[in-house]
């Protein structure tokens, strides 16, 4: 892909074409590159036709769950005379993931165009883009771009003279991972604590401000203009493996890797090549030990699983993990799996919203147990305790934050028992100072 590395020949560049190209950030620059043609085309279509096109493309949600986008849009009620809302999830907070940040930083109009098309397709006149508070630079870029889009008639009461109204409101988060969960995000926009809501009711029935709402990830919405421009068949044709996973996908690769960055490849691309060719592989003298491929909330893959996996929704499941938000946390043989799992548990304990008992208490408790192991004070039975607590933290709560905390723990203990053993048997020196 582009910035900060030159494109690799094995990449399929669609969304990331203008990364690093400052001129593409401006309205004029974006139009020069063919921007807003898709929006104009969309406004001439029936909303249902757009939904059908997206359905036909096979586009699935890029935020983590992989729900078919066209199908999601089709859940929005028709003729209900209520305000509809589109919410763009730009709260990218999943450790290991940094693709939406780059999409907003370099191609803000690509996102604005996608939001406008999406809003029109679901009968919404207003779209909120929820940008995490820490994204100060994307916020500035997006603010400027939205202003420009209004000035040029791409947003507002009369978009491109069609008489159609589409407004975009940027809403800034303030430091809460859980607001990336769609119902928590709606609460946050409403001025509440970012607590996930119970479903049902589903957002398409009663979402933001109690109105029918669709929530889409940044990357999902940026793909929309390309699908309208080039056709669903083209997008569907971008597929190397499972026909259920189509299009291109940005993979964020970070951790122990020579060339960290975002790489855009066709769905089904081999993970081995992505890590070793595109991202430059391991540092000299180092071997791949593990990859957490979906952001941090999915099972850890060992090197064998990772190198055998194909990068799409089904391919990663086949190797025992999940695609998630496609942020690869790569660990070489210098990594301390126990410590990194502890660090993730600490993350989830910090971010738990405090609603559900298992999550509020469980994330903190498992962190303490892992801390004790790292201090060289662990007991053999701690592993069984961790597994038992993890089981009770899985599938029991309103959202999946608690499950996400348990997932790396369970997979870590299962796949890297020797690393836990080293601490428990005191063969390895404590990684944390005992108090």
């Amino acid at each position: 892909m582009g910035f900060p590395h030159p494109n690799h020949p094995k990449e399929t560049i669609v969304l990331s074409q203008y990364f690093g190209d400052a001129d593409a950030r401006t309205y004029a620059g974006w139009v020069k590159r063919g921007g807003y043609e898709a929006l104009k085309k969309a406004l001439g279509m029936a909303p249902e036709a757009i939904v059908e096109e997206i359905k036909a493309s096979g586009l699935r949600g890029r935020g983590g769950a992989g729900f078919p986008t066209g199908l999601k849009w089709s859940f929005m009620p028709k003729g209900d005379h209520k305000p509809h809302y589109l919410v763009c999830n730009a709260d990218e907070s999943e450790p290991g993931t940094f693709k939406d940040r780059e999409l907003m930083r370099w191609t803000p109009h690509q996102l604005i165009e996608g939001c406008a098309i999406g809003a029109y397709a679901i009968g919404a006149e207003r779209c909120y883009i929820y940008i995490r508070g820490e994204f100060t630079e994307p916020w500035r870029v997006m603010t400027k771009a939205v202003e420009e889009a209004y000035t040029n008639g791409a947003l507002g009461a009369n978009v491109f003279g069609t008489g159609k109204r589409i407004d975009i409101v940027l809403h800034r988060g303030a430091g809460a991972y859980i607001c990336g969960e769609e119902t928590a995000m709606m609460n946050s926009i409403e001025g509440r604590r970012g607590n996930p809501r119970i479903k049902p009711p589903f957002p398409a029935v009663a979402g933001l401000f109690g109105m029918p709402t669709t929530i889409n990830n940044v990357e999902t919405l940026t793909a929309v203009s390309h699908i309208l421009n080039r056709g669903a068949a083209w997008y569907k044709g971008l597929c190397l493996s499972s026909p259920k996973s189509t299009g291109t996908k940005l993979f964020s690769v970070c951790g122990h890797i020579m060339k960290p960055g975002n790489y855009e490849v066709t769905m089904g691309f081999p993970m081995k090549s992505l890590i070793h060719d595109l991202a430059g592989g391991m540092r000299p003298g180092r071997r791949l030990k593990a990859v957490i491929p979906g952001g941090s909330s999915v099972p850890i893959m060992n090197a064998v699983e990772a190198e055998a996996a194909l990068c799409d929704y089904e391919g990663i499941v086949a190797q025992g993990s999940m695609l998630g938000s496609a942020g690869f946390i790569v660990m070489d043989d210098s990594a301390d799996i126990v410590y990194e799992i502890y660090r993730l548990a600490k993350f989830y304990a910090h971010e738990s919203c405090a609603q559900c008992t298992q999550c509020r208490e469980g994330t903190a408790w498992t962190t303490k147990i892992l801390e004790r192991i790292l201090k060289g004070q662990g007991k053999r039975e701690d592993l069984d305790l961790l597994l038992d607590l993890s089981e009770q933290m899985t599938g029991k709560t309103i959202c999946v934050l608690s499950d996400s905390c348990a997932t790396p723990i369970v997979s870590g203990i299962k796949k890297f028992p020797e690393e836990f053993d080293a601490y428990l048997s005191r063969a390895k020196a404590p990684a944390l100072a005992a108090v």
Binding site: P83, E92, S93, E94, P95, G96, T97, F98, D100, R101, R126, R132, G133, E134, F135, T136, E137, W139, R140, D167, V169, H171, R172, G173, A174, G175, A176, Y177, S188, I189, E190, G191, R192, R193, G194, F209, S252, V253, C254, G255, H256, P260, G261, N262, I292, S296, G327, I329, M331, A335, Y339, E340, R343, L344, F347, H350, E351, C353
Partner: protein, 171 residues
């Protein structure tokens, strides 16, 4: 959001925030949301921009302006870790410490920052009131480890060696 978020932090805290331009700015947001409550996060940001932190008086003021109770506002404000509910140094430094950055040496970056700012420990403010340093969870820039935020300025790929250069820009 400007990079001078904390410039005006020594304003008398008992003076109202939502007067003049700030009031206009808040009221300009009202049409963008169907409820006043929805303007709560933006309003808290405005307070923090104006004052550098969100005092109990400011919480009461936000509550009045938006028709909420102070307790409600405080409950929301404490949920979001970016709101400062206590005064902080002139410059606020957030260092990412989550796994991807930890793998790439964020601990060393943190050590250098604590030492060079004089803060000594995470969460502390330096004796000269210049810096407050905290460790934060994932800043969403894992490919640019270690990222840090100083006030509203993002610095990527910070290494212990680069710390001095970054700090020098914040007198």
């Amino acid at each position: 959001m400007s990079g001078t978020a904390h410039a005006a932090r020594h304003d008398a805290p008992d003076q109202p925030v939502f007067v003049g331009q700030v009031k206009d700015k808040l009221e300009a947001l009202f049409p963008s949301y169907p409820t006043r409550m929805a303007c709560l996060l933006p309003a808290l940001w405005m307070v923090q921009e104006a004052r550098g932190w969100i005092s109990p008086d400011a919480i009461a003021e936000v509550a009045t302006v938006l028709g909420l109770t102070p307790a409600y506002v405080r409950g929301v404000a404490t949920f979001y870790t970016m709101y400062h509910l206590h005064p902080v140094g002139r410059h606020f430094i957030q260092v990412c410490g989550t796994s991807p950055c930890h793998l790439c040496g964020s601990d060393e970056v943190m050590k250098a920052i604590l030492q060079q700012t004089g803060c000594g420990e995470v969460g502390a403010t330096s004796p000269d009131d210049r810096f407050t340093v905290i460790e934060v969870e994932c800043l969403g820039a894992c490919g640019f480890a270690t990222p840090i935020l100083v006030d509203d300025d993002f610095h990527d790929s910070v290494t212990p060696e680069r710390v001095a250069g970054v700090l020098a820009r914040y007198p």
